[in-house]
């Protein structure tokens, strides 16, 4: 007969090892995103309809939509948007082109590097809107000064992003190009430029949002047309529905430009 007292206790049934490998990997859901957005608008509409929110200070989404439709029907909205887009694209095109070119020169050639970085560092921290009065003196109160402010404001971040992108191109690829006897021009066009493209594009994204800020600021200081002018004059007249309609347009504008650059990025950078 076995003496159970001296036997080791029977092994407990195996239990699974506790899982603790869960990490912070938030799942994304388009539906949840849309729900949050529409839910917020619904809450706002509900609060307005119940009279909890004063229609003068914060008009309901329905009134904002009405204002948008009204301005669209009269053609006023389109005029403002076209005026803003023309300034934005004019300034952005100048700032972007110049910024990429100067950034490449700084990134590629030692001669430009020290001088370029010193100048860029001095100008980079200036809030460019501070230069608008000067630009008004130089280029007049019309389009010139606004385009110049946007061009100037988008130029510097583009320069910084571009030479940073050139600096970040894997040096071992450049060494490979040399080892295979590629010409300097071929190394620039076939290795450095494509290699710096991702960094340049992310710089252009940042520059585009800076461009929109400067656009609105410049239009608030001196313009009759444009989304910034619309928002400012609507505020002065207590037309908060039109004011918010303008703000909604700015959100749409920002999203559209961001989506546009994102689409270009996706096309050019399939290899990533």
């Amino acid at each position: 007969m076995r003496d159970t007292a001296t036997m080791p206790a029977p092994a407990a049934a195996p239990t699974p090892v506790v899982f603790r490998g869960g990490l912070f990997t938030p799942a994304t859901s388009r539906i949840a995103g849309a729900l949050a957005l529409f839910g917020l608008i619904g809450l706002w509409q509900g609060a307005s309809s119940l009279g909890w929110i004063s229609p003068i200070f914060a008009p309901s989404p329905a009134r904002v939509a009405n204002a948008l439709i009204g301005m669209a029907q009269s053609g006023e909205l389109q005029d403002h948007i076209m005026a803003s887009l023309a300034r934005l694209f004019g300034g952005y095109a100048l700032g972007m082109t110049g910024g990429v070119l100067v950034g490449l020169m700084i990134g590629l050639f030692g001669v430009f590097r020290s001088a370029g970085i010193a100048v860029v560092s001095a100008f980079f921290p200036i809030p460019k809107i501070a230069l608008l009065p000067l630009f008004i003196l130089w280029f007049g109160i019309g389009e010139g000064s606004k385009v110049a402010t946007i061009a100037f404001g988008t130029f510097f971040p583009t320069v910084v992003a571009t030479y940073g992108a050139v600096d970040n191109v894997d040096r071992s690829l450049v060494r490979m190009g040399r080892a295979f006897g590629l010409s300097t021009l071929a190394i620039i066009t076939k290795i450095i430029l494509p290699g710096s493209l991702p960094g340049i594009i992310s710089g252009l994204k940042i520059a585009s949002s800076i461009g929109i800020v400067l656009l609105i600021a410049a239009e608030m200081i001196g313009a009759n047309q444009g989304v910034g002018a619309l928002v400012l004059s609507a505020g002065n007249l207590m037309q908060t529905d039109q004011l918010l309609a303008g703000v909604v347009m700015l959100s749409v504008l920002g999203l559209t430009i961001g989506g546009f650059i994102g689409a270009i990025e996706k096309r050019l950078l399939v290899w990533r």
């Binding site: 071992s172 690829l173 040399r178 295979f180 010409s183 071929a186 076939k190």
Partner: protein, 255 residues
């Protein structure tokens, strides 16, 4: 084509890194350079390939490069150095561009080297889609496409896992049996050296100078990992390197 290292001396600042290195890579010969880390073997390879200037002495070449050679001294890099935005075929194409070759010849060279490196089915893949072994095959294909006289391989298998290394080593052995290709093969892996080389140059460190030259007589294709002669030679090489490797391991780095 022969490559001659002629009394190469090199310094980084006051620190001598290479001292009086002379040897010859004969036509069709594979020379392995082994040594502990810090012995200057990669520097030596860069000097041989014209990427770095020695303090004195230099690399000489004698004889004709093969017909159609675009780059007689061609590197294969440890980190592959592939352009991530180009497909496999486009990466192999890179060194063929700008020489005025007819398009048909470029296409033929790409097809031929992809076939020799078993990459034909991967011609349109991007590097990020490939395993390390496949990436290095692209590196080798790119090097072969320019019809090199001498391949300069800098730790080509060191970034790969052990099994992939074995497979690529078979390919390299095969490649050197196929054609009259000379190579300088820098490695810290003695097995690789004993497997591939006709001659192993053992460097010692600080400064790097030639400690011994070991000739391997067994034909490349007859060697395999279980061969007693190979084991003996690996042991002999280890014996030559061990003290230096220990010193390298125990060194405090100034940084």
């Amino acid at each position: 084509m022969r490559l001659i290292a002629d009394r190469i001396h090199h310094k980084y600042g006051p620190l001598p890194v290479l001292e009086d290195i002379s040897f010859t890579v004969e036509d069709g010969e594979v020379v392995a350079i082994v040594g502990p880390s810090g012995c200057g073997k990669s520097t030596l390879l860069r000097i041989l390939g014209g990427l770095e200037k020695p303090a004195s002495g230099g690399a000489l070449c004698a004889g004709e490069a093969p017909a159609g050679s675009l780059n007689p001294f061609t590197f294969v890099f440890q980190d592959f150095a592939l352009l991530p935005w180009r497909t496999v075929a486009q990466n192999v194409r890179l060194p063929l561009e700008g020489h005025g070759l007819p398009e048909a010849e470029i296409a033929a060279r790409i097809a031929d080297t992809l076939a020799r490196t078993k990459l034909t089915d991967f011609a349109d893949a991007y590097p990020k889609q490939l395993s390390g072994g496949m990436k290095q095959r692209v590196g080798i294909a790119r090097a072969l496409a320019v019809k090199p006289a001498i391949l300069l391989m800098d730790e080509p298998l060191s970034a790969l896992d052990a099994q992939t290394r074995e497979l690529l080593m078979d390919d390299l052995v095969h490649l050197h049996e196929q054609g009259n290709l000379s190579s300088v093969y820098v490695t810290h892996n003695l097995d690789e050296a004993v497997r591939l080389a006709d001659k192993v140059i053992v460097l010692r460190r600080r400064p790097g100078k030639i400690n011994a030259v070991v000739e391997l007589k067994v034909p490349r294709t007859a060697r395999d990992g279980t061969d007693a002669e190979m084991a003996r030679q690996t042991k002999e090489l280890w014996h030559l390197i061990r003290a230096d490797a220990e010193a390298a391991d125990r060194e405090i780095l100034d940084a």
